[in-house]
Amino acid sequence: MLELAVERAPERVYGFALAQALAERDGHTRLVAHGTLYKALDRMRRAGLLTAEWEDPGVAAEEGRPRRRVYQVTAEGRRALVEDPAPATRPGWGPAPA
């Protein structure tokens, strides 16, 4: 998940886009469950690997949708990905990448 967020940098990612990207990467037709996705994001945010902020309400209102919470990988997150890519990239709901 962290890897996908880094790939999209400097663009900030949000939950649904991440779910879509994960399904695409792993060749799944089903999107990851809400509970699994947001629990993992919350855990990474608390660990300092990601920062989260709510997008500008004006942008959301212009597009006629609720505000998204956007995430950005921190320097610590990038370092974790370089030092030990396996646990950082493992999404937590599937087998670890070979």
Binding site: F16, R30, L31, A33, G35, T36, Y38, R69
Partner: protein
């Protein structure tokens, strides 16, 4: 939840509102808003067939139930939560009662099949029964004592406040009596009789809770219509 929202989206929004209902305020607000945004994004990204998207959203909500519960438990580690739960014991008591119900059912089944020779499984299940039952009684008693010592006026207005207080007190009584019944139901003598009486009290408390909650719902609907 509004009309016109697909059932899958309504299910996901209802579930997030339910498991965050008594969570720390900021975490609850963030999680609800995040799921609402995700659901809206998925509906917008769906092709013409919204029914399929609705089913997919429901599937995402259902597959994540376990993680949601684990997340909910993890946010309880924030400071001040133990005190909050003693002031509002319904969440913990409800969760313990939910855990106790299948434990009791499993214990009864094992006792029927063990034919007087309790196995390791029964010892484990019985320990869980004792643990959950004792925890329910301890929390209910502590909450009751706190409520008696720290009486505060309720901002919801006198009528609503008395109904809410009655509902909460009945829930407390139901959980405590259920815990006592589970804890002592096989103990001979006075404690066994107490357990039998507690089970009757539990049944009556459930009926009373439904009646009071129904009155509260009618009153809230009436207030909404008149304001």
């Amino acid at each position: 939840m509004t009309r016109g929202v697909p059932w899958g989206a309504r299910l996901a929004l209802w579930w997030v509102a339910t498991y965050t209902a008594t969570a720390p305020r900021q975490e609850a607000v963030d999680r609800r808003a995040e799921i609402a945004a995700d659901v809206a994004d998925q509906l917008r990204a769906a092709p013409v067939v919204a029914r399929v998207a609705s089913r997919q959203i429901a599937g995402r909500a259902l597959r994540g139930l376990g993680s949601d519960v684990l997340w909910r438990v993890s946010v309880e580690r924030s400071p001040g939560r133990a005190r909050w739960h003693l002031e509002h014991p319904a969440t913990v008591l409800g969760a313990l009662a939910v855990l106790l119900t299948p434990t009791v059912a499993l214990g009864d089944t094992l006792r029927r099949t063990s034919a007087g020779r309790p196995g390791r499984a029964l010892v484990f299940v019985h320990s869980a029964e004792v643990l959950f039952g004792a925890a329910i009684l301890a929390i209910a008693l502590t909450a009751l004592l706190r409520r008696l010592v720290e009486r505060r006026p309720d901002p919801a207005g006198p009528r609503r406040a008395s109904l809410d207080l009655a509902r909460r007190s009945i829930a407390l009584l139901a959980c405590a009596s259920y815990g006592a019944a589970a804890l002592w139901r096989f103990v001979p003598g006075a404690l066994g009789k107490l357990a039998a009486a507690a089970y009757v009290v539990f049944g009556l408390a459930v009926i009373a809770w439904i009646a009071v909650a129904g009155c509260g719902w009618v009153l809230r609907s009436w207030e909404r219509r008149n304001h």
